[in-house]
């Protein structure tokens, strides 16, 4: 599903990634673990095609980074759900509109949008807050909205960049359990975090990264 083969990334004179190799299979829950500045977010940005590798091969499902056209990227992103540490929600809209937005963008019909939004909000346990404005929600709830939005288009993989970074221990545990539940339904998840111990006994494939290199 996600293949990185000898991926390098450089900005000006700074070598951010050096020969990164790993793959994440369908339905797998993988986690990139490493300290701040190790290159975790860069890897996710590369996979989400926000940036492009300096060299190396990166394939996500059928999309090869070297072959994809810029006009195809929005369509690719609809199939790769993404959540961020700072949630990146539209704060002037309510929960429903935030999730519906990802569907509007794909031209889904209004009735189907409503049905799908209710479905994903139920999945993340936020049905009762569907008309709440974003600033009215706790951090954990905001992250659930972000996850619901990422799931709206039924992606084949969910990328999560430090999804628990801004949350307290209890909310973090809830989010991890939610991600695990989503993964059990068959969706691949690739999560970046600097805390390896947060997974406990969860069956997660760990990919360790230090100074832009994959380490054992």
């Amino acid at each position: 599903m996600i293949y990185l083969t000898d991926v390098w990334y450089r900005v000006a004179k700074n070598q951010i990634l050096s020969g990164v190799n790993f793959h994440v299979g369908s339905g797998e829950f993988a986690c990139i673990v490493g300290p701040s500045g190790a290159g975790k977010s860069t890897v996710l940005k590369l996979i989400h095609m926000q940036i492009f590798p300096t060299r190396g091969k990166l394939v996500v499902a059928d999309y090869d980074v070297k072959e994809i056209r810029l006009s195809e990227i929005p369509y690719f992103r609809r199939k790769v759900g993404v959540v961020f540490q700072d949630f990146k929600l539209l704060e002037d809209r309510d929960v429903f509109e935030n999730v519906a937005f990802a569907l509007w963008a794909t031209g889904v019909r209004r009735k189907l949008i409503k049905r799908r939004v209710f479905q994903v909000l139920a999945e993340v346990g936020l049905s009762h807050k569907r008309y709440a404005m974003i600033p009215e929600l706790s951090g954990g709830e905001q992250q659930r909205v972000a996850i619901a939005r990422a799931l709206a288009n039924e992606p084949f993989v969910l990328l999560a960049d430090e999804p628990t970074g801004n949350l307290d221990a209890e909310a973090s545990e809830d989010i991890l359990k939610l991600l695990q539940r989503i993964n059990r339904k068959g969706m691949a998840i690739l999560m970046a975090t600097h805390k390896e111990d947060i997974f406990g006994q969860m069956p997660v494939k760990v990919i360790r990264i230090r100074e832009g290199k994959i380490v054992p």
Binding site: P74, R77, V82, K88, D92, A102, A105, G107
Partner: protein, 286 residues
């Protein structure tokens, strides 16, 4: 209409509602700048109209030799008509000239002198393209050599002055128009840019969840065009009121055709459309 177009329109309108203050500022800025542009256009059109009227009133007058019989006068009139640059020739008899003199000066030369001293004349209307100091001389020279012409009066100096000043005024007008237009473009596009800048985070999120560039762009373009349109309509109203006030005091001073009144509105909508696209291009590329 596709669902995305409905969405774009709805989102554009909702965006204006959400950012009421920014929308009010943007519309006010557009309205004020377009009002200035509108007033400038009205003034320009009317200055050019007055110059045109002055120019049109300058004709060539031919005094006819007193000894010419009616047939020769008719022949002379035909000969003048056939000269290149002449649009129309009107014969004014000695009697008509006397009537005009009485009308204009309120005195009767016949009573004073015992005879009519005024000669018969031909009033020559010159074609527009010949109404310049160089070309009119060629027409006058062609008239002077004709048999039966006593004297030709053509206000050459006045022609030169009007021609010279109309050129200067036109050049100043064009220069000022571009300065005003440039100010309008900068002010309007910058205002729209600031409105869009405040939405930068939303634009980024839209792109991250897979919105196409067109999808992101459309609501903001709808907003920009709407602001330009409303600002334009307000400016049109203000200009119209100003024109009516001036007309109330000086009824024949200004002539404002509808297209002159609408021009700032069209310019406003066009600038808003292009300004929104340009501002978005920068953010979407980033």
């Amino acid at each position: 209409m596709s669902i995305n177009l409905i969405y774009s329109f709805r989102e554009g309108m909702l965006g204006l509602k959400r950012a009421r203050l920014a929308t009010t500022i943007a519309i006010s800025t557009v309205a004020i700048t377009l009002t200035l542009l509108g007033i400038f256009i009205v003034l320009t059109v009317n200055v050019q109209r007055v110059i045109g009227l002055l120019n049109e009133r300058l004709n060539v007058e031919i005094f006819i030799d007193n000894s010419l019989d009616p047939l020769s006068i008719k022949l002379l009139q035909n000969n003048v008509s056939s000269i290149e640059g002449v649009e129309d020739v009107t014969y004014i008899s000695k009697e008509e000239a006397l009537e005009r003199f009485r009308g204009e000066f309120g005195e009767d030369p016949l009573a004073i002198l015992g005879e009519n001293p005024l000669p018969a004349s031909l009033l020559v209307k010159i074609k527009n393209e010949y109404r310049n100091p160089e070309k009119i001389v060629t027409v006058v020279e062609s008239i002077k050599v004709l048999k039966g012409v006593d004297e030709v009066i053509y206000h050459g100096r006045l022609f030169r002055l009007i021609h010279q000043y109309s050129k200067v005024i036109l050049a100043i007008d064009i220069g000022l128009f571009f300065i005003v237009l440039l100010s309008v473009i900068l002010l309007v596009s910058n205002t729209l840019r600031l409105t869009i800048l405040s939405q930068q985070k939303n634009i980024q999120i839209m792109q991250l969840v897979g919105a196409t560039i067109n999808f992101v762009r459309r609501p903001y373009v709808v907003q920009g065009v709407f602001q330009g349109f409303i600002g334009g309509v307000i400016s049109m109203g203000i200009v119209w009121v100003i024109v009516q006030l001036i007309r109330f005091r000086f009824p024949h001073l200004l002539v404002v055709p509808l297209h002159v009144l609408i021009m700032p509105l069209l310019i406003g909508v066009l600038i808003s459309y292009l300004g929104s696209l340009m501002a978005l291009k920068r953010f979407l590329n980033a």
